[in-house]
């Protein structure tokens, strides 16, 4: 496991989370620099969603700290939430509002100036301008996914969290997503993505990690990783259960 020197953008130390007797996370340490793209793989039940939720301040850790730029997340969540964007496997969209209305809502929620303009910009970015007045309920899965991403970008977040974004997407939608992520990453955003999709994850990331049974068992810069041996390692982890 490598540790980056210098003050990290996001640093996690000794993170543990238990639900009653079940230990979801057993001590995770991680340091990310600004602009890195970390992709976390791991079998089901490894604690990936839990980790993301803690970073998103949806859950509180049992012990340990999560710091963004040196201030503790859970002690001052308000400062931090304005900078955060999240894409979950739940869409966060209001079914009875149109695509435009959904984006306008979230833009206003985050205090964006001129929310209407921003909403239109975002629709343009994800190629949904034609669907601006369609109810979210009537959008196809791929379109909903694009709208979900647009929603997460409404506040121009410096930290973006993605929880299994490729689930249920066909090849076309998946490559659109990959391209979107590329654009996002190029603008100095720090991204953490959790996915089962080995190929897509390895394409986009700058750092690769494997979470198994609540511990980070592997963390390495992508440039130093040999793809085949990484795959082997990953599958070995899956079988180890």
């Amino acid at each position: 496991m490598t540790e980056s020197s210098g003050s990290a953008f996001l640093s996690i130390s000794g993170l543990k989370k238990s639900y009653g007797g079940l230990e979801a996370l057993r001590g995770v340490d991680l340091a990310l620099q600004q602009g890195e793209f970390l992709c976390l793989f791991g079998p089901n039940g490894a604690g990936k969603s839990t980790l993301l939720k803690i970073i998103a301040t949806l859950l509180r850790p049992s012990t340990g700290q999560v710091k963004v730029l040196d201030f503790d997340l859970h002690e001052q969540p308000e400062k931090y939430r304005a900078q955060l964007g999240m894409v979950s496997h739940q869409s966060f969209l209001y079914q009875d509002l149109t695509a435009l209305e959904n984006l306008e809502f979230y833009a206003t929620l985050y205090g964006v100036e001129q929310p209407h303009k921003r909403a239109l910009e975002l629709l343009e970015q994800v190629n949904l301008t034609a669907r601006a007045d369609t109810l979210a309920a009537n959008l196809s899965r791929g379109m909903q996914q694009r709208l979900t991403i647009a929603r997460a970008l409404v506040n121009d977040p410096s930290l973006l969290l993605l929880d299994e974004p490729y689930t249920g997407l066909d090849e076309h939608a998946a490559s659109v997503l990959r391209d979107q992520l590329q654009i996002l990453h190029s603008r100095k955003r720090t991204i953490i993505m959790v996915t089962h999709n080995l190929r897509r994850g390895m394409e986009s990331a700058t750092r690769l990690g494997i979470l198994a049974k609540g511990k980070l068992v592997y963390l390495q810069e992508k440039s130093k990783v040999d793809p085949t041996s990484f795959e082997e390692l990953y599958f070995r982890q899956l079988e180890a259960l």
Binding site: Y19, G20, G21, L22, G45, K213, L241
Partner: protein
């Protein structure tokens, strides 16, 4: 050493005091002039009511503590006290009814205390129904804690509004109009103390049962992984 054997101590104490109280109710306390034997239900009724109220108070406090500390022990205490409280309140309602029937010729009356007990019964019984409906431990504990807190807050409100209603009903019941001779007072106090100690013993037992159940469930989950 006292800590470890606390449960046994309490149980032993209760086992001694309850029969003593019972004996006092029937053999020591004098027979009440107007109501006769039936009046003796009063000792049980009041003792049960005191224990039930204590139960719900403990539930509320446990709820607050759980929300602040998130420790399992507080959830165990909440569950135990709500359960015991519901059982005791059922007995309060039954004894109240049994007492009321021969005296006031009615099975039920909207006396403020009985009304409060009835509504309390519903509130905390609904809390038990809620617990049965939620499987995930953390959620269940949080939800029960919130319910126990709002439920208990309701108690003074219910009591006061029932009081307001009493002035409207023609049949005014004044159970506290019973004059208490010293012998009766002593019997009453002994009954209440015995009941409270009994409550404490059962509470501790139930709490440790809950804790053990959770431990077993943890082990099961770990084995399944």
């Amino acid at each position: 050493m006292i800590r470890k054997n606390c449960s046994a101590l309490l149980a032993g104490l209760a086992a001694v005091l309850l029969p003593v109280a019972l004996g006092m109710v029937f053999f020591y306390a004098p027979m009440e002039r107007t109501m006769g034997m039936v009046q003796k239900i009063f000792y049980f009724h009041l003792a049960l009511a005191a224990a039930a109220f204590l139960s719900f108070f403990v539930a509320c406090v446990s709820g607050i503590m759980y929300l602040l500390r998130r420790q399992r022990i507080w959830d165990a205490r909440l569950a135990a006290s709500v359960e015991i409280g519901v059982v005791l309140t059922t007995l309060v309602l039954i004894t109240g009814s049994l007492w009321g029937r021969p005296i006031w010729n009615t099975w039920w009356t909207w006396d403020p205390r009985l009304t409060t007990s009835l509504i309390l019964w519903f509130i905390f019984a609904s809390c038990l129904i809620l617990r049965a409906a939620v499987e995930e431990e953390g959620k269940r504990a949080t939800y029960s804690a919130v319910m126990a807190i709002v439920g208990f807050i309701d108690v003074p409100i219910v009591f006061l509004s029932a009081r307001l209603f009493r002035s409207i009903h023609p049949t005014v019941i004044r159970s506290s109009g019973v004059a208490l001779e010293p012998a009766m007072l002593i019997t009453l106090l002994v009954s209440i103390v015995a009941m409270l100690i009994f409550w404490a013993a059962v509470f501790r037992l139930r709490c440790s049962q809950y804790t053990q159940e959770s431990a077993v469930r943890d082990l099961q989950q770990q084995l399944q992984r």
